[in-house]
């Protein structure tokens, strides 16, 4: 129904544009007096009155409708007073299902039947009511605004003001997103820390949130609950995998950048650079699949050939593939930075008789260092926040290990493992995922901030 209604509103909007336009033209010819704006601005003016309030009302109705419907339908049950909040919402779902013809239960039949009838009735009525309200409002405002057009009204100013407010609101979306992220993470995290001490989370060595269910079923003491949420193994695993990734991507990325900027002919550059950047455009789930199905077995076979015990979900495989994914981040950024070192430094070095390598290592790299370090930091933050590769190729059980051939798990993996599928929202297990998310958010933000500061502060200006 929303689709039809919105189409109708848009149709009214288009018609009212022409009406407003026409009215303005008529005024102009009949009245001799000139209008303050061009005719089509009056069209926009009427169309805005027709569309914007109607859409806002529609938005309000749709967001509050379900709440009121639920209250109305359940009023008999609420009057009984013997149901808790969760039971009521469960009941409502059951009533909804019954209304759709799925018979689920047979107790309380009279009350339920009454509620089902009420639901059907209110659904029908509310739909009609919405149509009447929204379209009626739209129509009234069209009439109002058409008759409001006179030679004193400067519709251009109003329309431009509206556009400006619209643009400003759009630019606020970024702030609202950040606020939304921080709010949702903090809210759940604080609830989590009200049950599990923050020190246990940050310094505990044991991560096994599954145990919480055991606690609820059996009767272990709270100490055990605290013991289930020690995130150190996750931090260690994340660090280990990111370290492996950096071990792959830093040398490869940096040397590639050097080759691109100093050695490669323009022709090679034009070909090779976009091809390497393909690596950054491939979805991470593809890398995950590649890591889990090709690289991990390969690593295991090689390791076993060398007489080592290698887990089939080794940190090495996940880290290696992640490293490949990160190469272009480092190579592109470093390439730009190295290229931006002024030519005079290169030529000065050559003039002293230095070879190309010596020029690069002793002159260019030190000059470009802040930018290069910045690119490393950005790459690290990327590696820490990467999810799909580790979900698919790294381990799922938290174990404190520094052995790259062992399975290690990461923050992002645990968030996915905890939150995938159905979750109940009041358990510390679910909330712990948000605590992990907040940690991740803070760490990546800090890394990016530091990276920017390093670049800003230590970049020498050559002019």
């Amino acid at each position: 129904m929303g689709f039809i209604l919105i189409s109708l509103i848009i149709l009214i909007g288009i018609t009212s544009y022409f009406l407003g336009n026409l009215r303005a033209k008529n005024l102009r010819t009949s009245n001799q007096k000139n209008l303050k704006s061009l005719s089509h601005y009056y069209g926009y003016y009427v169309a805005l009155w027709a569309v914007v309030p109607a859409l806002l009302i529609l938005l309000m109705i749709t967001s509050f409708k379900s709440f009121f419907i639920e209250q109305y339908v359940l009023s008999d049950f609420i009057a009984l007073g013997s149901y808790t909040e969760t039971e009521l919402s469960l009941l409502f779902t059951q009533i909804e299902n019954t209304a759709m013809g799925i018979k689920l239960f047979d107790e309380n039949t009279i009350l339920i039947d009454g509620a089902v009838n009420k639901l059907n009735y209110i659904n029908k009525t509310s739909e009609n009511l919405t149509y009447v309200t929204v379209l009626g409002l739209s129509g009234l405002l069209v009439l109002y605004s058409i008759f409001n057009i006179n030679h004193k009204l400067n519709s251009r100013k109003i329309v431009e003001k509206f556009l400006l407010v619209l643009y400003f609101t759009c630019s606020l979306v970024a702030i609202m997103t950040t606020v939304g992220i921080i709010f949702s993470l903090l809210y759940e995290t604080l609830r989590f820390f009200s049950q599990v001490p923050i020190t246990d989370f940050l310094f505990g060595l044991n991560w096994s949130p599954q145990r919480v269910f055991v606690r609820e079923a059996g009767d272990l003491d709270t100490r055990d609950l605290a013991n289930a949420f020690g995130a150190v193994p996750l931090f260690a695993g994340t660090f280990l995998i990111a370290l492996i990734a950096m071990c792959v991507s830093v040398p490869v990325g940096l040397l590639t950048a050097i080759y691109m900027s100093e050695y490669a002919s323009p022709k090679v550059r034009d070909w090779a650079k976009p091809i390497i950047e393909i690596l950054a455009g491939i979805p991470t789930v593809v890398y995950g699949f590649f890591a889990a199905l090709t690289v991990a077995p390969l690593v295991r076979d090689i390791g076993q050939g060398a007489g080592l015990t290698v887990s089939s979900e080794s940190a090495l495989a996940a880290g290696f593939v992640m490293g490949i994914m990160i190469i272009p981040f480092i190579s592109s950024l470093s390439d730009d930075v190295i290229k931006s070192v002024p030519q005079s430094l290169r030529e000065g070095s050559y003039a002293m008789g230095a070879t190309k390598r010596e020029t690069i290592v002793k002159v260019l790299l030190p000059a470009a260092l802040p930018g290069i370090v910045g690119s490393f930091l950005l790459a690290v933050s990327r590696a820490i926040g990467e999810t799909m590769i580790v979900v698919m190729a790294a381990g799922l059980n938290a174990k404190l290990t520094a052995n790259p051939l062992d399975a290690a798990t990461t923050i992002t993996t645990q968030i996915v493992v905890i939150l995938i599928g159905d979750q109940e929202f009041d358990s510390p297990k679910t909330q712990s995922a948000f605590a992990l998310g907040l940690t991740l958010f803070v760490v990546t933000l800090a890394l990016n901030f530091i990276a920017l500061q390093v670049v800003k502060k230590y970049t020498e200006r050559y002019d």
Binding site: R156, L164, L166, Y167, F168, C170, S171, V173, A174, I175, T177, T178, G180, I181, F183, S184, L185, L255, T256, Y259, Y263, A272, I275, I276, I278, G281, P283, T284, V285, V286, G288, F289, F290, A292, L293, T355, R357, V361, S381, I384, G385, E386, T387, M388, V391, M392, T412, I415, V416, L419, I420, G421, F425, F434, G437, L440, F441, T444, L445, N448
Partner: protein, 427 residues
């Protein structure tokens, strides 16, 4: 004297050698990176291309055994055909391939050469050809995943029997059918059209393609106008003050936030506070829009900035208002850049998986979604889901899904490049 010269020459040689070595390291590093692009693509393509065709087995179905006169079918409605009991009839049609086998166990094995929907397939054939059914019709039935994989050579035949999913007797049947020329390939249209399934030979990406399309559509509808309006405001109208600075810092930070955090936002706010329906492309699209907004805003701002001030000033000089100058003269010129940025942002959103996992777009959905409010998967999520399955058939399906995903991404990026090439103006 000669000593010193020799020393110099030695040291020079050393320096030149290390120069050579360094150069080789650099080339090595670049080749390493390039090689992995190649390996990745080859790996995916070599294991994925075979999913685009499938094994079918030709079976003669004696419809005369089902009904006295086959012309009667033409008078039946689809409903009537659905009500026909065809299971044992279909089985008997398959047994006719090997009339000699008597044992129940062997018969069961023979049936298992076919996908479990063989009865349904015969029924569908009947429905679509009901007006001219002959006494016996030749129907191509889908082979089971095991047979399909053996036929394509993806599955080792020389393992011990108890380690194999396909049994010796089935291989005997299969080889005999091959010798009789009854086994053939056809283009795997069902793979492109159908939804997910627990049986690899019946699973398709149709559902997730539609899911991805809906998701991207939502992203486009939301993030394109919002992103462009925000960029216009920040670049053209925003006064230089604290609020503007704050917005800018925010946008740059959001671009660096890991995608999974947006999933947490979607779960915490959009699902639990606003109560939008789980697992739907609508919610997925909203989350991904928030994620792609910074990309679009940054790209659009860059292209707005590249518009020379003379255009603005020219418009203002002939009496346009600020808004008119921007909307009629600056924005149209900057549009190709904004479009390019949007397409790249959409490509990012198309490949994104992690946030979708958290908002429940990992549901097992058999039906192809009809609206953005139906539960569905998306292409990358489908890759994740299938890669967790053990059956050999899913490996090729996963690779094929990746091929399609990469295909879409390449198309989108090509479009972006073409738009940039065609409309880019150098001032």
């Amino acid at each position: 004297m000669t000593d010193r010269i020799e020393q110099r020459i030695n040291s020079l040689n050393k320096r030149l050698n290390s120069e050579k070595r360094f150069r080789i390291y650099c080339i090595g590093a670049m080749s390493f990176a390039l090689a992995w692009v190649l390996i990745l693509f080859l790996n995916i393509f070599s294991s994925g291309y075979s999913a685009f065709y499938r094994t079918v087995i030709q079976v003669d179905v004696p419809f005369l055994n089902l009904i006295e006169d086959t012309t009667q079918f033409s008078e039946m409605s689809s409903e009537d055909i659905n009500n026909l009991s065809m299971y044992s009839f279909s089985k008997k049609a398959i047994y006719r391939l090997f009339p000699d086998i008597e044992e129940k166990k062997d018969k069961k094995m023979l049936i298992r050469l076919f996908s479990i929907e063989f009865e349904q397939e015969i029924r569908e054939f009947l429905k679509s050809n009901k007006s001219n059914i002959n006494e016996t019709e030749t129907i191509y039935l889908t082979a089971s995943d095991d047979v399909d994989q053996v036929n394509k050579g993806n599955y080792p035949r020389d393992l011990d029997e108890d380690k194999r999913r396909i049994k010796d007797i089935q291989l005997l049947f299969f080889d005999d059918l091959v010798d009789r020329g009854l086994v053939s390939y056809e283009f795997n249209l069902p793979f492109l059209m159908r939804g997910d399934s627990r049986e690899p030979e019946l699973a398709g990406v149709g559902g997730s393609i539609v899911g991805s399309l809906f998701t991207i559509l939502v992203v486009l509808i939301l993030s394109f106008p919002i992103g462009i309006f925000a960029a216009i405001y920040l670049e053209e109208f925003a006064p230089k003050n604290k609020v503007t600075d704050f917005i800018e810092i925010n946008i740059n930070n959001l671009a660096a936030v890991p995608s999974i955090v947006f999933g947490l936002l979607g779960l915490g706010i959009i699902l639990n506070t606003f109560g939008l329906p789980r697992s739907t492309p609508l919610v997925g699209g909203i989350v991904l829009s928030l994620m792609t907004l910074p990309t679009i805003i940054i790209a659009t701002r860059a292209s707005l900035r590249a518009v020379p001030p003379s255009i603005r000033e020219g418009a203002l000089a002939v009496g346009a208002t600020k808004m008119q100058a921007v909307m009629h003269h600056v924005v149209p010129v900057a549009m190709p850049g904004a479009l390019t940025g949007t397409i790249i942002g959409l490509a990012q959103a198309l490949g994104e998986t992690a946030p979708l996992l958290l908002i429940g777009m990992v549901a097992f959905v058999v039906d192809v979604p009809q609206t953005p409010l139906d539960a569905s998967a998306s292409l990358p999520v489908q890759v994740y889901l299938w890669s967790e399955s053990a059956e050999r058939g899913y490996v090729e399906k996963t690779s094929a899904t990746i091929m399609m995903l990469l295909g879409f991404l390449i198309l989108m990026n090509l479009a972006a490049v073409l738009i940039r090439r065609k409309f880019e103006t150098k001032w």
